[in-house]
């Protein structure tokens, strides 16, 4: 599914990702944890192709396609989905028209006919219900005036509608109460079908109680310094990142 080899990336000439390797196979859930400033969010931005994030070395492929060669929208159409830590508010563009455009772009990529307004509305309503957002959210401006929790649920709703191949969830649990966390996790779990893969970026082990990872990686100072199974997250929860030693101190500095 996703193959990252020796990835180096910088923002404003500051090296953030420094030789990252990661293999994600179909159906797998990988959790990425790590201290602040380790490069967790940067990884999502680099893979999605955000302007200003320069890759200086290494490669990243999605199902054999060179991601780094593609435009942002092409990467999305290849099946890459990034759930934002801070979803962007876009007043003046309704959730509905945004998602319809988006879903039909994906369908076009797959050689499918665009959905009619009625067909789309039906799907959108189902997805809306699934993440427990009121239906009038579809008519409102994208994330406009949404609470933090509503924005996160809106991201999950988009993920459900777009049916991506690989989902990167960037701190989708931050700022959520227990009930909202459950909704987000249920949304994610409903999309696990043995084929779709997930990278779950989080600070807290708590989310991993709801979304069971196959692998847990610790990202520090731009690379993965330790990998393990779900028990690694529990270890972090208990003792923090002290075991990282020098790498951790650098990242904090």
């Amino acid at each position: 599914m996703l193959s990252i080899k020796n990835l180096h990336a910088s923002v404003e000439e500051k090296n953030i990702i420094k030789g990252l390797n990661l293999e994600v196979k179909p159906g797998e859930v990988h959790a990425i944890m790590g201290p602040n400033g380790a490069g967790k969010s940067t990884l999502g931005y680099v893979l999605s192709g955000r302007d200003g994030y320069e890759v200086s070395e290494g490669e990243a492929t999605l199902n054999g396609k060179d991601l780094l060669e593609l435009e942002v929208e092409e990467r999305a159409r290849e099946g890459l989905f990034l759930a934002f830590q801070y979803p962007v508010e876009i007043p003046g563009v309704s959730n509905m028209e945004f998602m319809k455009e988006s879903v039909n772009a994906m369908r076009e990529q797959r050689g499918e006919a665009p959905l009619t307004a009625a067909e789309f509305l039906k799907k959108a309503k189902e997805a809306c219900k699934q993440v427990q957002l009121p239906l009038d959210f579809l008519k409102r401006g994208v994330n406009e005036g949404f609470s933090g929790g509503e924005k996160k649920r809106n991201e999950i709703m988009q993920m459900i509608l777009l049916e991506p191949k690989l989902c990167i969830l960037d701190e989708s649990d931050s700022g959520l109460d227990v009930d909202a966390l459950q909704v987000v996790a249920d949304g994610v779990n409903s999309q696990r079908d043995g084929e779709r893969s997930f990278i779950v970026v989080t600070h807290y082990q708590r989310l991993l109680d709801y979304i069971k990872p196959d692998f847990v990686h610790i990202l520090a100072d731009g690379k993965i310094v330790k990998s393990g199974d779900a028990s690694l997250a529990l270890e972090v929860e208990k003792s923090g990142y002290a075991f990282l030693g020098k790498a951790y101190e650098e990242a904090e500095a």
């Binding site: 955000r50 942002v72 929208e73 962007v88 563009v93 990529q109």
Partner: protein, 418 residues
Amino acid sequence: MSQWLEQVIDAAQISDYLAPVRQQALEKLKADGWPARRNESWRFTPLTPVEKREAKQAVQADSLPVPAIDNLNAIDLVFVDGVLVTQVNTLNVPAGMSITSLNNDDTATQQAISSVYGQVKPTRHMFGLVNDALCQHGIFINVEAGVKIDTPVRIVNMASQNVDAHTRVVVKVAEGASATVIEQGFGDAESLTTAFAEYDLADDAHLEHYRFAMFTGKAKQLGGSHFKLHNRTTLNSTMVGYGSELSRLDVDIHHAGEFADAKMNAIYLLAEGELFDLHSTIEHAMPNGTTEENARGIVGDKARAVFNGRIHIHRDAQKTLAELNNRNLLLSRRGVINTKPELEIYADDVKCAHGATVAEIEEEALYYMLTRGVSRSKALVMLNFGFIQELINDVPNAAVREWLAPILSERFAQMEVK
């Protein structure tokens, strides 16, 4: 003095029933002369494309194809190169409304026209004065008291190569009557058009008004729409401006009665290198009036938008509610916007607000949309056209709204972001 203005003054022939106004206009033109560059009214809009031009006479022109507005069932009046080519006496006009040429032998009609011609439009507009003096072809629309006219009247102004065209629209809507008038100008050939319209709207009258100033390219469009409102008059006006080598629209709304309500939405979309200048003046001379003005525009690479919006609240105009807002989006660092909202308030019990903003493309929102697979051009339209779309959605006539939405979004989609 410019060569063009001298030739204009020489060409004026004053013999008809409008002679007093024409004469006054000529005298003021001679006295004022050509505006200097420091003249506030033309500060950001150079008149060089007109200054050294050779003034040309209107000649009888061939008909050009009139652009359709789908599903709009309107009475069309067409000017080509300043000549009215529609036979007004063959029009099927609803009862209670009359449409006649300004060239009219009927004394009563002449009197009605004279009560508006040059009386609503302030004399400070130089090209308005030129129009006063030179205009040979014009239309007078009269709606009788209490008559509600549903059928819009559409006045189309077209110009072909190498011509000066001066046209006039005079409208009287009597007590309690209502009408819809659309002024539409277009063409991209080298030409100069002065198209001025004056509206005298009586007590309780309602006017739905549109002005589509869509000349582009080498066309120089210098025009104005001017309104006089009386007690409880309501005006809803939508204006759309494209830019050209030189495009200027002057709007005056004069609250001459109490409890009048004026709403004006203006949209301008300027492609590469275009210039569009909108000057509006709202005079609140009487109490209890309301004005809401929204001007919004998108300015492309090397294009220039000039907006000057003045609201003048006289000392007696207590309880006035007035809002003026100008929002702009710049697509390039080489685009220019000169915006100047002005509130001048002499009454002490009024509610007024004004503001102007200039925005650039929001990279973060664009990125967010791209990560959802939306194409770049679609994302730009969705993202940056919303504030224009809001004004399109506000258009009261459904056929006009549905005609405008795609042509404006397409014009925007073709503009490059640099």
